[in-house]
């Protein structure tokens, strides 16, 4: 069963068509990778799905709802969360508070309840703290809860971004280059962790990644973009041998042997 159906998705920036008529279908509770050379339109694709950009054409369908025209916070409410290629934490607040921001939509307290500090709002804020802490434990950052986010080491910042995304309770999690800057051991841990999240949280995961070892190991389905166009899709072994893909990465001469 598909959870995300993208059809004919197109986005232009001036004369450049960053994403051009892309069709992508993601199966529920699958792990899907979007790969492609630099500038292929992968991150633009994520930005279109999460509402950062509005598409010029095409449709993005999450389950039975169309996401086109919705604002980022509304799309988050529908169950899509993401991390960023260049880490974007709230760097001057604590690790725990970063995760609590992710919980925002799941707290019922309205503005006036908050201003008046009704007992139910207080109870809820206490529960939110506990829940945020549980997410930190889940990604292995429980001991760092009171650090300011900017003081965390790089790998921990990546995990904190995931914890913050998980706190929004997504159905679909988009990871933008989660292994960037990680050493092989960290990448292995990440692979296990992505599998674990899928199993334990019934998540569907879509990732953009350049680390081909990780991509081939983890993905059930791979989509390849080049210059904004989808040039291939299929299982890892199919992609590995796909002529178009090899050409996109290595140039025409690698294929023709000239």
């Amino acid at each position: 069963m598909s959870i995300l159906a993208v059809s004919n998705l197109t986005k232009k920036f001036g004369g450049l068509t960053a994403v051009n008529g892309v069709d992508i279908t993601v199966q529920k509770e699958s792990i899907t990778a979007v790969i492609g050379p630099n500038g292929a339109g992968k991150t633009t694709f994520f930005n279109l799905v999460t509402g950062v950009y509005q598409p010029d054409n095409g449709n993005v369908q999450l389950g039975s709802t169309s996401l086109v025209g919705l604002k980022p916070h509304e799309i988050s409410r529908h169950g899509i969360a993401r991390t960023f290629q260049n880490i974007r934490l709230f760097s001057n607040i604590t690790v725990l508070e970063n995760v609590m921001v992710g919980l925002h939509n799941h707290l019922k307290g309205g503005i006036f309840g908050t201003l008046l500090q009704t007992p139910s709002v207080r109870r809820e804020e206490k529960r939110a703290k506990e829940e945020a802490y549980e997410w930190l434990e889940y990604v292995g950052l429980g001991s760092l809860l009171n650090e300011e986010a900017k003081n965390l080491p790089y790998g921990a910042q990546r995990r904190l971004e995931i914890a913050r995304a998980l706190a929004t309770k997504p159905k679909l999690l988009l990871l933008d280059e989660p292994a960037a800057g990680m050493n092989p051991r960290e990448t292995r841990e990440l692979t296990e962790f992505i599998h674990r999240m899928r199993e334990e949280l019934n998540l569907t995961i879509v990732l953009i990644e350049h680390d081909m070892k990780l991509v081939m190991e983890i993905s059930e389905q791979i989509f390849v973009l080049d210059h904004g166009v989808k040039i291939a899709e299929g299982k890892p072994e199919e992609i590995r041998n796909n002529v178009n893909v090899i050409e996109a990465y290595l140039g025409k001469s690698a294929v023709t042997g000239a």
Binding site: T50, G51, V52, K71, P72, H73, S76, R77, A81, R82, F84, R88, L89, F90, S91, N92, I93, E97, M100, V101, G102, L103, H104, N105, L107, G109, I111, T114, L115, Q117, V121, E124, E125, A128, R164, A165, T168
Partner: protein, 328 residues
């Protein structure tokens, strides 16, 4: 000379803290909006002024209806504060919606000009309505508290003179402190405060985490303007006579206080406000003595702002602000 300064010190502190509390609460409005939009909301001083007029109008209405005579003054004050805060809060929210939000993607300078425009507009609207209703735009409202308390500082240390404290000053100080504690708590502990801080740091990411950025910005304007309006009421009670132009210079000074404390920093704004108030009162009481009569009390602003310049030269990010280091 030292002993003369010491003698007046208690009164300087009392008056300075009272004035400083006003600066501090208004500075909060500047600093909150700056923190979240990087916009200097020059209309905020006018929100304060509008608050003073709305408060006085409510008081006139209540005294006209005969309510003031029958209810305790503190209850009357509470009603006036609540009504005024709601009115100015909604006014501030509306200004953001109409004059700033359409310009969100425009250069900051454009929004700043829009803010200055709103500021003149408010001055003249208030002036027009007041002249129309009362025949004069300078108004003296009914006084709720006119008693005074003598503070026996001389028994603490014989070099001190006694100080006189108006009841309205006590109420002003207490209300201002409650507002500041309340806001600090709200911003640091509550879900909405957390949302405000996240929007201030990275608006786009906050939106992607499910935060309705426009709602948070509206809320920021509501709270800042409600506090500013309430301070206007307290100001009118403390100093009696108000006119539509009080917001300009007071707003400028409150803005200065916000910069002094480190703009965008809420605790900094509170501290900066109190400090500026005390400095100003100190200069007003002692400048003549300190300069051997060359400068009189009228030069108090020169003294206070001179200190501001010195502080900013050595600590440009303000007393509580964090130095911004650009990552290369």
């Amino acid at each position: 000379m030292i002993s003369e300064i010491l003698q007046t010190l208690p009164q300087v502190l009392v008056d300075g803290l009272t004035l400083g509390a006003i600066y501090a609460v208004i500075a909060l409005g500047y600093t909150m909006v700056y923190g979240i939009l990087e916009l200097i909301n020059f209309a905020h001083g006018e929100i304060f002024m509008t608050g003073a007029f709305v408060g006085v109008a409510v008081l006139f209405f209540m005294s006209g209806a005969g309510w003031l005579a029958v209810m305790p003054a503190i209850l009357a004050l509470l009603i006036v504060l609540v009504v005024t805060s709601l009115v100015t809060g909604v006014l501030g929210m509306g200004i953001e919606r109409v004059a700033y939000r359409p310009l969100r993607k425009a250069p900051k300078l454009i929004t700043l000009i829009s803010a200055i425009g709103v500021s003149f507009l408010l001055q003249d609207i208030v002036r027009f309505i007041t002249e129309w209703k009362r025949g004069n735009y300078i108004v003296t409202g009914p006084q709720l508290f006119d008693s005074k308390i003598g503070l026996d500082f001389s028994s603490i240390w014989s070099h001190f003179n006694d100080a006189i404290l108006k009841t309205s000053s006590v109420i002003l100080l207490v209300s201002a402190i409650l507002m500041m504690i309340g806001l600090d708590f709200f911003v640091n502990k509550s879900k909405w405060g957390m949302a405000m801080r996240s929007v201030a740091q990275d608006r786009d990411t906050a939106a992607l985490m499910g935060i309705n950025v426009n709602k948070v910005i509206s809320l920021t304007f509501f709270i800042g303007s409600a506090l500013g309006g309430a301070t206007g009421v307290l100001f009118a009670m403390q100093y009696g006579t108000i006119n539509p132009y009080i917001g300009f210079i007071l707003g400028l000074k409150a803005f200065t206080a916000a910069v002094l404390g480190g703009i965008g920093n809420i605790r900094g704004a509170m501290f900066g406000g109190l400090l500026l108030g005390v400095l100003e009162m100190f200069a007003s009481a002692n400048l003549q003595k300190l300069t051997g009569g060359v400068f009189t009390a009228e030069y108090k602003d020169v003294f206070a702002f001179g200190i501001l310049i010195i502080v900013l030269i050595f600590k440009p990010e303000g007393l509580f602000g964090k130095a911004v280091t650009e990552k290369v």
